[in-house]
Amino acid sequence: MNMKFLHLATLALACVASSAVSAAEPGVTDKEIKIGQTGPYSGPASIAVALMQTPIAYFKMINETGGIHGRKINLISLDDAYSPPKTVEMTRRLMEQDNVFFMFGQVGSPAAAAAQPYLNAKKVPQLFSLVGTSRFNDPAKFPWTIGTIVSYKAEGILFGKYIKQKMPNAKVGILYQNDDLGRDYVEGVTEGLGDLAKSTIVAKVSLEPTEPTFDSQVLALKASGANALVIATGPKPAVYAIRKAGELGWKPQTFLTAGANSVSMVMEPAGVANGKGVITTATFKDPSDPRWQSDPDYIEYSAFMAKYLPQLNKNDSYAVMGYVGAQLMTKVLNDVGPNPTREGIRKAATSIRDYRPKMAMPDIKLMLTPNDYDMYKKLNFMRFNGTGWEPFDAGVL
């Protein structure tokens, strides 16, 4: 009898508490949490559509097993065609019309940047946007904005340090995309090389990702006499550059960015023979790498993709990124407890310690603190052996 009463009392209390929450926090009811996302469903950037599809499917799976703290997750994902003004419009629609709790996984750095001041002014978390530029790690100015990709600059610094320590006679050529991404890598490599930067960097050649071919750039880099080549681009130019270098019989020590190292989508089209010996860093397990085919993470991921997104290519690296982002989001929503607030969400996100989402590399330990929003504290070097990536300890840092 007593027990029953206590139960009822706590239940009533919980009800009162949660209804109080739903009154205070937009987008949160007893049954549901509404989250917003923008991304390119149309236009030339729709190559990244898996970044929206995977989280939607992941939350569907979570909802089928009862949701989080009894609430279903409703991810409202809208098209911004990768155009910053459209991102602002869609973000405002999500915030003001759909009343979402916060924004998650906005795709692309110009897009996320456009929504950044608005969301920060409203004190709304802009979590795990798919951006790697340094301006998204600025807790003092934009405390509500947290990115989720390895910082381009940090990776560049690592490459610079590797070259400085391991390649005493290096002459560095950099092939970079003429945008945020490319510029950040150039800055990073220069910083990593430190005092040697001036004497070792022999060529910096830019490209526009929309050019049909990049022959001219690769020829110019080869002519510079470089014996180390940093390819700071997205997947397509990287494929092209690796193949072209191979065709030219040019064999520099090539470095590839973490965003462009998929075995099936970059190395195979470029020709695995041309890619032998390429160095990259990794945060995720590449689903097309034979190394992981019997890995429990991969098996689970693979089953998830087969069940919820059968029409999608599971080797798509964007799908893995979306999968990891959705797990992070799920963790934060779990951690924040049954009475989430926007401030609570931010606190939970910046209290992530030593977390390894599934499909992240084995020794990844994500860490977010209120003063540092770059969650990757350590990157693994890997070398391409002709079929897949082999991690190695370079002893650099």
């Binding site: 065609a81 990768y82 003004p85 419009e89 629609r93 456009a114």
Partner: protein, 340 residues
């Protein structure tokens, strides 16, 4: 009679526009501002394409010029309202400078040359030499203008009224321009450049000036957009912006002033609708809408509506020919005389 009717409906429209922000939630006020901004941009395009017969697929470039003038100067502490005339002057200059040689190109060549302009703009904005001014690919933020403290308006409402004021002034000016002497000369160039020349119209100069005025309209729209969006970056001004402005102009009805407003609505609203129809195939649905629109209203929505109204006021046996006349846009003689 028609003129009083037009005036009356224009006043009604303005009154409706004035009351909008007081009735609608903030987001819709923001969207309405966006529609007005695009309408002004398209109006510039209509003056050039519909009235003067020069096709431009690169007006995104002038839009970008206006937006960056605002972003740079407001960033240096200028008040936003003082920057607007400057944006107009700069974009007029750029447009005139580009239009002067370009006006010698005809039809397809001009379309493709202006298209080239729209491709070059994002590259130029990202160029290291200009980075100090343009902020490179990172772009620039613009602080949102707040309403003067004596007005009980929030920033969105205030900005809407500001945009509305500029838009009404520009629409009024465009109306006067096109119905006046100069306007007839501009249209004469479109219909028969050689005849126009022989009648003493300075064709080349007037074409270049029209290009400049058109660029000015679109530049002012770009300037307003920078205030509304509060952010400019090279990616905001890709070639797709130029394409969408072009599409908006033609679908609204390039040979009219009012068509620009419809075009503005089209640019803002239709992509959202097609996304509601199909998430995965939004691009395909959008394309079908474009083609279907052109199939059923080749002279644009405004042209279509006008044809409907005119067909109604005409005697029944004339109907079919009237419909057809509108398809091959030039307005037939008797039609014009009826109007005056």
């Amino acid at each position: 009679m028609t003129t009083t009717k037009t005036k009356l409906s224009a006043i009604c429209a303005i009154l409706a526009c004035l009351s909008l922000p007081l009735l609608l939630p903030e987001f819709l006020v923001f969207q309405a501002s966006q529609i007005l901004v695009y309408a002004v941009a398209i109006l510039g395009l209509n003056l050039l394409m519909g009235f003067n017969g020069q096709i431009s697929m690169g007006h995104g470039a002038f839009y970008a010029v206006g937006a960056y003038v605002v972003a740079i100067l407001v960033g240096h502490g200028w008040p936003y309202w003082a920057v607007l005339p400057l944006a107009a002057v700069v974009s007029f200059g750029v447009g005139f400078f580009f239009g002067k040689p370009a006006s010698r190109l005809g039809g397809h060549y001009l379309a493709l040359a202006t298209f080239a302009l729209s491709l070059a703009v994002p590259q130029l904005l990202r160029h290291p030499a200009l980075e100090f001014w343009t902020g490179g690919s990172q772009g620039m933020y613009i602080t949102k203008p707040e309403a003067p403290s004596f007005l009980p308006l929030n920033a969105d409402q205030w900005l809407y009224y500001f945009v509305l004021l500029v838009a009404v002034a520009l629409f009024f000016a465009a109306h006067n321009l096109t119905t006046g002497r100069v306007g007839r000369a501009i249209s004469a160039i479109r219909d028969h450049p050689i005849a126009a020349e022989s009648m003493g119209i300075p064709v080349a100069r007037l074409k270049a000036i029209t290009f400049g005025v058109s660029a000015m309209y679109t530049g002012v729209a770009g300037a307003l957009s920078a205030l509304v969006i509060q952010y400019v970056a090279p990616d905001s001004f890709s070639m797709f912006l130029s394409i969408f402005l072009f599409v908006g102009a033609v679908i609204g009805g390039a040979r009219s002033i009012a068509g620009a407003l419809i075009g503005g609505m089209f640019i803002v609203v239709v992509p959202n609708l097609t996304f509601e129809i199909s998430k995965s195939a939004t691009g395909v649905v959008y394309a079908i809408v474009l083609i279907a629109m052109m199939r059923f209203a080749p002279a644009g929505i405004w042209g279509f509506l006008r044809a409907k109204v005119e067909a109604k006021t005409r005697s029944p046996e004339e109907k079919p020919s009237a419909q057809k006349a509108n398809v091959s846009v030039p307005i037939p003689q008797h039609d014009a005389s009826e109007r005056s």
